[in-house]
Symmetry: C7
Subunit: 76 residues, 7 copies
């Protein structure tokens, strides 16, 4: 059995990977996870606003405030 991991370990392992972030306002943002902190503030590279699986807007480097985030899906 592996040692018990914490949620921030999971985010740390996701650095430089593509993530899909669902926000409380119903929007979805994808991008490469560059940085995060304990408040779950994120920085994404090549961020895109997505709608029904299509890119709606390219947003470049994007700071996301943690308290607007519902979930972060991590590619593996």
């Amino acid at each position: 059995m592996e040692p018990q991991s914490r949620p921030l370990d999971t985010l740390n392992n996701a650095r430089h990977k593509r993530v899909i972030v669902d926000l409380k306002n119903g929007k979805q943002i994808t991008g490469e996870l560059e940085a995060f902190d304990i408040h779950i503030n994120l920085v994404l590279e090549d961020a895109e606003l997505r709608s029904e699986g299509q890119t709606e807007k390219k947003m470049g480097k994007l700071f996301l405030r943690g308290d607007t985030i519902i979930s972060i899906a991590i590619s593996e």
Copy 2:
């Protein structure tokens, strides 16, 4: 009478078990509980968005921010 337990003990005992998470936005997510912290941030493996008992979307490894969570039902 058993020693008094705390809510985080219950989450700790649920590691690697299937849980059903109800979110404040009315969505329901199921998955295997991999990690949690004191803010109730969760990491689920094989997460699925559920709707009326049916899988609506497979989401893989999913970080859930604690303040979006209403309840976590634990299989036994």
Copy 3:
């Protein structure tokens, strides 16, 4: 006159008793109080979602995040 009690004392005395929890989303959950903490995170055993006095869904062991709770009515 009895010594002045604090709200968490009341929850402590309610352990293993049946409680009725009203949530901010308008739902009502009943169950046996197994655990709580200072954030009013709760764990209920044999939790049930109730609607108009009827059981709508059995939820088993349930972790409830404290900030979703309005009130906890305690049977005596």
Copy 4:
């Protein structure tokens, strides 16, 4: 001029008195104030849900989470 009082002093003087609590969800609860803490979590005895001056439901001993409370009117 009396010494400067703090809001929690007022709640302390209201112990064992009847209070009327207005909640953020628009509901009104009355009861005898048994306990409170710095988060304004309350415990009421003989709590009643009120609607237009009429008792709508008797709730017995009731824990109210502080962050759901707008105001507490105190009988004198």
Copy 5:
């Protein structure tokens, strides 16, 4: 130029004066400021719920939880 004041100094100078409190739920309460704390929890004496400049309900001594307050207008 007077020494730089802080917002709580202003509340302190308003003790025993009439204030008009606007709440996040759109309601307006007037009363004499008896007590406050750093959370902006207030106690008002002779509190009245106001609507369009008219007294709608007399509420006596009233504890107001700070996080429900938008603004406090101070008579001079």
Copy 6:
């Protein structure tokens, strides 16, 4: 290049100047900034509720709770 400033420095430099405050409830308040603290609680002198560029109500000395504020525009 000037030394790096912090947001509260900007508020400090705005003391005794006219500011326009946008609130989360959609209202706009103008006044002279008299005091602020780290929670962005403000005290305005000669505060006015504004609507479409017109004064709607004179509010005199006004305490504004920081968590109701979206933005503070500063005249220079």
Copy 7:
């Protein structure tokens, strides 16, 4: 591989650059980032309220409270 960065490093590198800030109320503000703090309170110079890619209002020097912010897009 570069050393691991944190979100506030990204904001620090964005000083004196143009940013696009999306707010929780659905509004969009652009301006030059002059200052920020750990709460993500911002000060923008030459701030403008934007709507559908057009300038709707010029706001000059603008303090933005951090908890109203969803995201900050950074030009490079």
